[in-house]
Symmetry: C2
Subunit: 390 residues, 2 copies
């Protein structure tokens, strides 16, 4: 088989390989990036589906427009207005097959082979994979507890003239870090000055369970930008529905690219989601998720403090699903993983989130584990760390 050159540059997902090892039932795993299925609105979505089949079954089962179901786009536009004061026209919204497809479409529509894309360090692996397919050359800029290193961002854009900056400013995957307000403002100013296009990915924005909500980076921009959203973390990832908010000229190109990609996203899933959002109280639902995740996050932070050596650092996220651990220089999270899996506890080593192979970090997911498993898992992991660092 003569595969394309682009497939040579794309790594097979390390996380997928890890998830195979960690799926054994005796393993307490914090490796996956899954929302907690106990908080999927199963009964409500069942009613929504029944309603859709009852009222518009033929339409929901037919081909539909590439842009997506108009009432769903109208709902999303109205919600952006309510929550962020963003005045978006439904024609500036494109429904995608999950947020991942938003990344694929950004790659298709913007990235020529060899062109520069600035990403966070560590960075979201789905974006690295998505843009890799189109030959992006990555420039990674360090992320700290307050967000992207704006000095380094400025220098990187100066030196590389990179076309795009991909950012997850709220509760980033993998680090759990959020940009503070000053960093958001500076980021916007730097991007505008360099005419660098912001791709702002906000899948976790609604999952803030403590601290002060902040404006999106785009709110501070003088120039147009692209915002990616998703229903995966607030309703259900199995529907595979996300969206892109972008200027009309970008949406037009993306529609052409999406047509070539999958024609349109599942009509049925779009109708069910719209029915659910308009019939049930999604805000009350999100409130339930927030309360549960806060409890799980607090427990994990407390258990880490009790069990991990003091030289191990970790983030204390105010929302989202992940927490990020940094070992002292010289220690390997991949080695720790091998020891941990022997004790039936798992996480994702940080390596795949870097384009340069850094190995002293790892990601813990707190959204998909019960309090008991979090306590027991952190105790086991603490013992592994003590052994490793002894």
């Amino acid at each position: 088989m003569r595969f394309s050159d682009r497939m040579g540059g794309v790594r097979r997902s390390y996380i997928r390989e890890i998830l195979k090892v960690t799926s054994r039932p005796e393993v307490i795993s914090f490796a996956g990036g899954l929302p907690n299925p106990d908080f999927f609105p199963v009964a409500e979505l069942a009613q929504a589906a029944a309603g859709v089949f009852e009222s518009s079954g033929q339409e929901a089962l037919q081909y539909s427009t590439t842009e997506g179901f108009l009432p769903l786009r109208e709902y999303i536009a109205a919600r952006y207005k309510d929550r962020h004061g963003i005045l978006a026209d439904p024609d500036e919204i494109l429904i995608t097959t999950g947020s991942q497809q938003g990344l694929d479409l950004v790659g298709k529509v913007f990235v020529n082979p060899g062109e520069g894309v600035v990403i966070e360090r560590p960075g979201y692996i789905g974006a690295i994979q998505g843009f890799s397919m189109f030959g992006a050359k990555f420039h990674a800029v360090d992320l700290s507890e307050t967000g992207i290193d704006t000095g380094a961002l400025d220098r990187t854009l100066e030196q590389t003239g990179a076309k795009l900056f991909y950012a997850v400013p709220n509760f980033q995957n993998p680090s759990g870090v959020s940009y503070d307000d000053k960093t958001r403002k500076e980021t916007a100013e730097i991007l505008s000055r360099h005419a660098c296009l912001l791709i702002e990915d906000n899948p976790y924005g609604e999952l803030r369970f403590m601290g002060q909500g902040l404006p999106l980076v785009r709110a501070y921009m003088d120039s147009p930008s692209i915002l990616l959203g998703s229903c995966s973390k607030i309703v259900s990832p199995g529907l595979r529905l996300g969206w892109v908010l972008a200027p009309r000229e970008v949406i037009l190109k993306m529609v052409t690219a999406k047509q070539a990609s999958d024609l349109h996203s599942s009509t049925l899933a779009q109708h069910i989601l719209h029915n659910y959002l308009t019939r049930f109280d999604v805000d009350a639902h999100i409130q339930k998720i927030r309360a549960a995740y806060k409890l799980q996050r607090d427990l994990m932070v407390q258990a880490i403090q009790e069990n991990f050596p003091k030289t191990v650092r970790f983030t204390e996220p105010e929302g989202g699903m992940f927490l990020w651990v940094t070992l002292p220089e010289g220690f390997s999270a991949v080695r720790l993983f091998d020891q941990a899996i022997e004790k039936n506890v798992a996480f994702v080593p940080g390596k795949p989130f870097y384009v340069d192979g850094t190995d002293n970090t790892f990601r813990l997911n707190f959204s998909n584990s019960s309090p008991e498993r979090i306590r027991e898992g952190m105790a086991r992991l603490g013992r592994c760390l003590t052994e490793l660092m002894d």
Copy 2:
């Protein structure tokens, strides 16, 4: 906005533009490529959905594997064995977001910019769009009533060394043509000899309503090939589910590419489809579709014979959804379209199905019109043709 170079080479869909004009309620349109929604199994899919939410709601709403829902892949493998004698392992099947995503993944995994892809002339527009995204250089080989011109295929492969051949051997879109058995055998021999990879797309294969069923081209191949399938024409396109059957090494690459494209296809849609297929009699359902489409096709053929000038040629498909009309040399189907739309009748001019701009052909869809509209529409179109050719 600085878009990627690849977007310059991709035409905005002409068909989409046409469908806007033809969607006015007073227009009798044969332009769309839609299956007849009267034959969607709405009540059965509603029961299937209820069953899924009842028995496995959390699982159906969660992230899942990129390969797709294993029981669905097992069902597809078993059906290939029953109907085609193909021994496929479920690991050789990848569930895609419609067959269109199969084309996108073929492009991602195989096509380097400038590499040759042989297509049928006229060719399926979704494939032209899909492969265009990856810089394919198209070589079009004429299609006649018996299938691809095998002499021309042989010469084209000899001259260009093209890597892929994309074919729709059953009831092709747009022409309605099927390859006869001799052409299938010769095609397989030629492709094997040139080490050209066959991409065999079979969305309409189950919609044969007359004539003798024939083996897939792949059945005659000595070398591996790729088969695309879809539930869009036999169950529902709104589920957006198709699949790829390919050797394991290809599936592995495609899984990596699909992960970067949309992670996986809708878990919910996959569970609903599987529940439907295993609980209800899909073969009886397909039989109903076939009977209805045959009636509509027969009526259209008869109405064409009664209303069109005798110098106008047309295909008489034994299945599928489309019929193809060829005007005598020198007449323009685009001009005919303008006249037809004034008489409130519509079709798709053939131009977008050629990479060279041929303009004396057009496509008629018979699956999505009632007998009354077919009779009235062909009468109107006959008058337009008489005027145009007078």
